[in-house]
């Protein structure tokens, strides 16, 4: 079966499972909200500085949320050893990663877009005029987070203290995403918004590098 067809089938399963229970989505959204509110207690949210810090706080919140949301990714495949069933059924182990990282990107993107209006209200920033650009930045950033996060989640699922291990491995690795995405978002939320194409290129580069690495080494991540 072709890579694309297989991935679509598995992606369908990932989406169906999540939308049936919505447990990942709801907990992630609530977590990000909590983080945003808590952050607001540490400075004056309506000041001029808040506008500049806002983008950074938003992305920090996304990263923290992602490092929690990505844990069940491979852990839940251990329950009934469904990972073995998948490995036996797909033609290429990369399909498993591709489907999961696509699903994770979509989940992250969905939570981010749902939270955007709330963020805009809380921190008094104008998002509507640059909305489509924000979607692009959120997408590229979330893709990077998902690619790295899905790969590392496969690693942490096989280790002890996995709940703490995934953030430990993932967060330093995602430093480039944090920096680039924050800068891009900050530029878009500025009083005179603009698109930092350098940043877009950088995010694309990150995504390509790690997707390639995952493609090359993915099957070893699943080995027994």
């Amino acid at each position: 079966m072709s890579l694309f067809a297989n991935t679509t089938v598995l992606l369908g399963k990932e989406l169906r499972t999540e939308f049936r229970s919505r447990e990942l989505l709801t907990t992630t959204i609530v977590f990000i909200l909590i983080v945003l509110v808590l952050f607001s207690f540490t400075f004056d949210p309506l000041s001029e500085e808040a506008r500049r810090f806002g983008a950074g706080l938003l992305w920090l919140a996304f990263l923290f949320a992602a490092s929690l949301m990505l844990q069940p990714c491979f852990l839940r495949e251990q329950t009934n050893d469904t990972l073995s069933a998948l490995r036996l059924s797909v033609s290429d182990p990369f399909v498993i990663f591709l489907a999961k990282l696509t699903a994770n990107t979509l989940f992250l993107l969905l939570t981010e877009l749902l939270l955007l209006p709330i963020f805009a209200i809380m921190y008094n920033v104008r998002v509507l005029p640059v909305f489509h650009w924000l979607v692009l930045v959120f997408f590229l950033g979330s893709l990077g987070v998902s690619i790295a996060g899905t790969a590392l989640s496969a690693i942490s699922a096989q280790a002890r203290m996995r709940e703490l291990l995934l953030p430990l491995l993932l967060l330093p690795l995602l430093t480039p995403i944090l920096i680039a995405s924050t800068e891009l978002t900050s530029a878009l939320l500025d009083r005179s918004p603009y698109v930092q194409w350098k940043g877009v290129g950088f995010l694309v580069a990150f995504d390509v590098v790690f997707l390639t690495a995952l493609w090359l080494f993915g099957e070893y991540l699943l080995e027994e």
């Binding site: 291990l165 491995l169 920096i179």
Partner: protein
């Protein structure tokens, strides 16, 4: 046995010679004075650290490809030694910064990137402590090591591109950027000396790792029997 001692002595004297050269041969820098001399060890350590991490990366790739335990041993040895050198970089940076800029940590782009690098390889070592079975541990840490190393240029790139917008004091311009010839010579000699130290430490650590593995194997066999 005595051969190792001899090599160790040679390496240490090289390092000692480099220290001597930094203090007595290299001219004192005009504006910063004596404290600038820490640059020779600071920058040379950074280079040695990066070389060690490159060795780790190659070892990781070789392990994933060949699955021979020796590559895993080399990987962890190189990572630990690299981490030691990077720690020196992170300590000497603030020591230099305080008298010159008045503050210990200036969020200089290179130093900040180095800090992230340090965190990545600490995570690599932490991961290893959390996986019991040796082959699994070797494979998983090799894979993480590969991802981490691929991330390094991206980290340095991102920080240099965007964090240097903020006027942060640059810690000692890069080597060769306006280094007077004698200084340059002393610098490269320091690099050589520290690389020799790096190789020596990796070899020693590698030997230690092999012993540790043998011990573990014996222990496991004893448990089963």
């Amino acid at each position: 046995m005595w051969k190792r001692g001899l090599v160790g002595a040679v390496v240490l004297s090289l390092v000692g010679a480099a220290a001597y050269a930094s203090f007595f041969i290299a001219p004192t820098e005009r504006t910063m004075g004596l404290i600038q001399k820490i640059f020779y060890f600071h920058a040379a350590s950074a280079w040695a650290g990066m070389t060690a991490f490159s060795v780790c990366f190659v070892a990781n790739l070789l392990y994933v490809w060949r699955r021979q335990p020796k590559w895993d041993s080399l990987g962890v040895s190189a990572a630990e030694v690299g981490l030691a050198f990077i720690t020196i970089v992170l300590i000497t940076g603030p020591i230099w910064a305080k008298p010159v800029w008045g503050i210990y940590w200036t969020w200089d782009a290179r130093l900040t990137s180095t800090f992230v690098l340090w965190l990545l390889y600490i995570s690599y070592l932490l991961l290893r402590t959390l996986v019991e079975e040796p082959d699994r541990r070797a494979l998983l840490s090799a894979l993480f090591g590969i991802f981490a190393f691929l991330d390094v240029p991206l980290v340095f790139g991102a920080i240099r591109w965007w964090r240097t917008q903020h006027p942060a004091p640059v810690i000692m311009g890069g080597p060769g950027s306006g280094l007077e010839p004698t200084m340059r010579a002393v610098f490269f000699f320091s690099v050589l000396a520290l690389h020799a130290l790096m190789v020596f430490l990796i070899v020693e650590r590698y030997g230690l790792e092999k012993l540790r593995m043998e011990l573990d194997d014996l222990r496991r066999e004893a448990e089963v029997a």
